[in-house]
Symmetry: C2
Subunit: 584 residues, 2 copies
């Protein structure tokens, strides 16, 4: 299964799944409880599962690069010989993100409009020059970070006739400067999560931003998609963490130059007209390429702990979460899994006898039974605390009181410690399931607290109705992932037992039902994954037609030639249409 | 001094100063210490001051309305007979905000382009219809809230040939709905601070937004200018408080309708492309008219107190503030006055013997002397706490520790209670000073903590250099008004002893020096007053030319006819130029 391995100027994932070619995989053999769980929730007999072998790159029919020698020479002059890549495998790596649809398509050789060339700029000036070249050539320019996007924001539109350049930011991965007094750090856009944290940690700092994609996502990618990490309740969404930034973008028509540099200095708050920083946040490459950003950082905390609690029902957990969010204590994490996700978590325990699996041990089970809980409805919650010892002690005492008032049961730090160690491994389960023909995906939404229970229950119902309509078994689970004063994000994961060639139609049917439920019950199209091509069909329902009109005018004004990642977020008359849009 | 008093459909201030015609005034006779202070800092002999009599409306030469009977009939059909006003005095009220330049001009009868008609819509539908009429007539439409703007955002451009309509939102002043679970309230844009709080308080809620302009500013105005209140450290800037909103705006070219309604639902956080809500925030009428908004509200706090502290120097106060901002306790207010403002505050005490004036009492003074403090450098600080008793107790213990570590001295709740009662009276001092020929104004900026001391000292220096250059005595003072993780807002007040006809040139010279110092030392053009015409000359320095380009494209795309408050924030080739722009 070894592939041709091109020498890339920056780290990258394998072309057909999450993580590097030789990286870890989900080890089903270490999960003694998982087969019974799969049997119970999806009637799935894992012992009979047909494991699809890893795909071979040689089976792909990669369209050849349309980049002329002249173009390549020009790009090489800018970024250097070794940083202009037309190698087939690296072009395919850059053709997609890592959404389930991406993986299914790439494994089947449905490659779409593969970029003609991948360039790796090493500096802001080089990004500017690459963009100038792209504009001069009337090429399409798509910024690329860690490649973890799951909303089809990295691919060129199917009918794109122009040259397509993927701009991989991976060489720009340094923490350039830390302002210790203002607690902001200047970080290059291409820094992957772990590389950035390593540089910050070495000096006693952290960004506090830990999305599930952390290992394979970058500072620039987080900004461009309005990311949110698992500790956002304390440290803020990326929109709050980002204090200033630079972005290469087209110059005004009639200028001597083709490109200009947007420079937003690190400022805590300001009243300088419509907030340009907030326009760059979430722009997914449509306004320019973010080169570096001033990000809020924090001293590594004196104390960090994740407490686990059980609730008798999801409703009780939701109500407790709501009260914690209003309690002036700012835990760094406030996660409540619904009953299905709680079962899924337990099924992923290493062993029934492990001392660490406190939350599934017999004593706790007996206690729950004694309390008269329906074990089928039990929900697991993690609350993370970080700060001074005094702060953590205070916050924990407030939280414990609220938990108790909602009938919750504290089970200590063990489960949270385990969760903390394994939190980035979820995509490996997804890849494992895909290997046995089960597409699984995630969709997240935020609502006011007043509609949190409704959107949860109705979305689960809508998914089950959709499963039934497709005639395939499915599973859906959910957790509260981010809390705010006025509401929360709920994060759904669903899987469908359909290994057929048409399983993307099945998937589409379910995905559409989930997204439409979000729209119908007060939710947003996405809380932190972004829009891309995948969610654009719901944008008018999300922010109203007038909101889409405003975004369209913004994009058209800044990028009149539609050279910058066209077609993402809102469609604008270009050839491609969203692959999941029913009305396209 | 009684004027012709037209019957207005909504509350309004007097045409020549702050507050209503029969409202309170600054009572110099109650301030026994103020004359000595004025003598000391500006060599001003108040006993010799010539008090300019209140102006008479009859002395004004008000340009007549250009609104035709046909136009007025059309507008009356929309909003009703009594809600279309062409009365001279009300038109003059709507011609300006309440900046010092505004007051000087209006008192001198320099009226500029007075609006032709003031309309008072009573509903969102009426706002839509008024806007449709304005677009059909190719008129200029300027939204008007409480009239407290100080950056020249309410006036038509001097050379404006088109019909000018001022759209007063004052009839739309209701709290329409409170979602008690999500803690958000739907509030009409025209609600003035006190009217809104009264409605919220009656049900046990508060917005927690208390800008100095509170009495004469509105929800819509706060959003349109990106306002920030004195309790923002806990409750957030208005940009964080605003969760959803509706805005009437032009429809896309080629639509059947002339206008459309932007509808952003109340959502805690989302990743739906560039944030449209953040584009409306700070748009100062250039994108449309905000009709209503979903705002975060909070239960009235169990406990509220404002503690006063003294520091030996401003530097000590700044360092303590920085540490408090990083301490996870979120006081609702964190204010540190510099030495000059501390003296000003003390000089405004009612009496030297009052029991309430703890901070000027002899015991405290002796203690400071015993500590070896230079009394000329002493700085007063207020830290406000709000929440549960437990929270306030905890936060106070953390703050007290930090204050002590920075050599601060706690003097209890007395001064803060007084401050709380008088906090909205500052504009009356400004009007009093203007009555004796002393223009006074405010300018505020935010910087990273690392540049807070620098921008304070350099701005004070720049102002004094400017005073000297004009040959007039001046005074400048400052306080930290808002704190964030990465920095703070500092709020400067300055006054110039120039009663001459040319005093606006003197004022301009100083104002320019202050604003340029902000730009030169890492600050923003404005923290929460907005841009208007007044600050637009510095926008390219603030957010870089590329940032201004983005805003320009946004405005041009949404309002191609330049009908919506043109010329504000960024100039765009219309006749008017900023009255204080040197390069215009």
């Amino acid at each position: 299964m070894t592939q041709h391995q091109p020498k890339a100027p920056a780290k990258h994932q394998k072309w057909w799944g999450w993580g590097p070619e030789d990286g870890i995989r989900y080890a089903i053999e270490d999960k003694p409880k998982f087969p019974a769980f799969a049997k119970q929730v999806m009637d799935l007999d894992l012992s009979q599962a047909q494991v699809i072998p890893d795909p071979s790159f040689d089976d792909l029919d990669v369209p050849s690069s349309q980049a002329s020698d002249e173009v390549l020479t020009e790009l090489r002059t800018i970024v250097g010989q070794g940083n202009v890549i037309t190698d087939d495998e690296l072009r395919v790596v850059h053709a997609f993100g890592k959404g389930v649809r991406d993986l299914v398509r790439v494994r089947r050789g449905q490659l779409g409009r593969v970029p003609d060339v991948v360039v790796y700029p090493g500096s802001e000036d080089e990004v500017m020059a690459v963009m100038a070249a792209a504009l001069r050539l009337d090429a399409v320019l798509i910024p690329y970070g860690g490649g973890s996007n799951i909303v089809a924001a990295l691919e060129a539109e199917p009918g794109e006739q122009r040259l397509v350049i993927s701009c991989d930011m991976g060489r720009m991965n340094k923490v350039l400067e830390i302002d210790e007094q203002a607690q902001v750090a200047l970080i290059q856009a291409g820094a992957l999560g772990p590389d950035m944290e390593e540089q910050l940690n070495a000096k006693g700092w952290t960004l506090g931003h830990f999305p599930d994609s952390f290992v394979w996502s970058t500072v620039g990618g987080w900004i461009a998609t309005r990311s949110s990490g698992s500790q956002s309740d304390k440290y803020g969404d990326i929109s709050e963490v980002t204090r200033g930034l630079n972005m290469a973008m087209p110059a005004p028509e009639g200028s001597d130059e083709l490109v200009q540099l947007l420079q937003l200095r690190p400022l805590p708050s300001y009243s300088s007209g419509p907030n340009v920083r907030e326009m760059v946040l979430g722009s997914e490459g449509r306004l320019g390429i973010i080169t570096q950003a001033w990000m809020q950082v924090h001293r590594l905390a004196e104390c960090r702990e994740i407490q686990a609690y059980f609730y008798p029902t999801y409703d009780a957990g939701l109500k407790a979460a709501e009260q914690i969010a209003h309690a002036d204590v700012h835990p760094m994490m406030l996660r409540v899994s619904d009953a299905n996700e709680t079962k899924f978590s337990m099924a992923n325990g290493k062993s029934t006898s492990s001392k660490k699996s406190h939350y599934s041990n017999l004593a706790v089970k007996k206690l729950m039974e004694a309390k008269g809980w329906d074990l089928d409805e039990v929900c697991l919650s993690f609350v993370g605390f970080e700060g001074t010892n005094t702060h953590v002690r205070y916050a924990k005492s407030v939280v414990n009181k609220i938990v108790r008032a909602h009938g919750g049961l504290g089970v200590g730090k063990g489960p949270g410690t385990l969760f903390d160690q394994k939190k980035y491994d979820i995509p490996f389960i997804r890849d494992f399931l895909l290997n046995i023909g089960i597409p699984a995906d995630v969709s997240e939404t935020s609502t006011p607290w007043s509609r949190a229970k409704e959107i949860h229950d109705e979305t689960v119902k809508a998914a089950h109705k959709a499963f039934e309509e497709t005639g395939h078994k499915g599973f859906i689970m959910c957790h509260i992932s981010h809390s705010y004063h006025s509401g929360a994000c709920q994060y759904f994961t669903f899987a469908i037992d359909d290994a057929s060639e048409n399983n993307m139609q099945t998937y589409d049917h379910v995905k559409r039902a989930v997204q439409q439920s979000f729209m119908d019950h007060g939710g947003t199209v996405s809380h932190h994954h972004g829009v891309g091509e995948e969610h654009s069909p719901w944008m008018e329902q999300d922010i109203s037609p007038a909101g889409v009109h405003i975004q369209r005018k913004l994009f058209a004004g800044v990028d009149p030639g539609k050279n910058l990642n066209p077609g993402k977020i809102v469609h604008d008359g270009k050839p491609g249409v969203s692959s999941n849009s029913e009305d396209a």
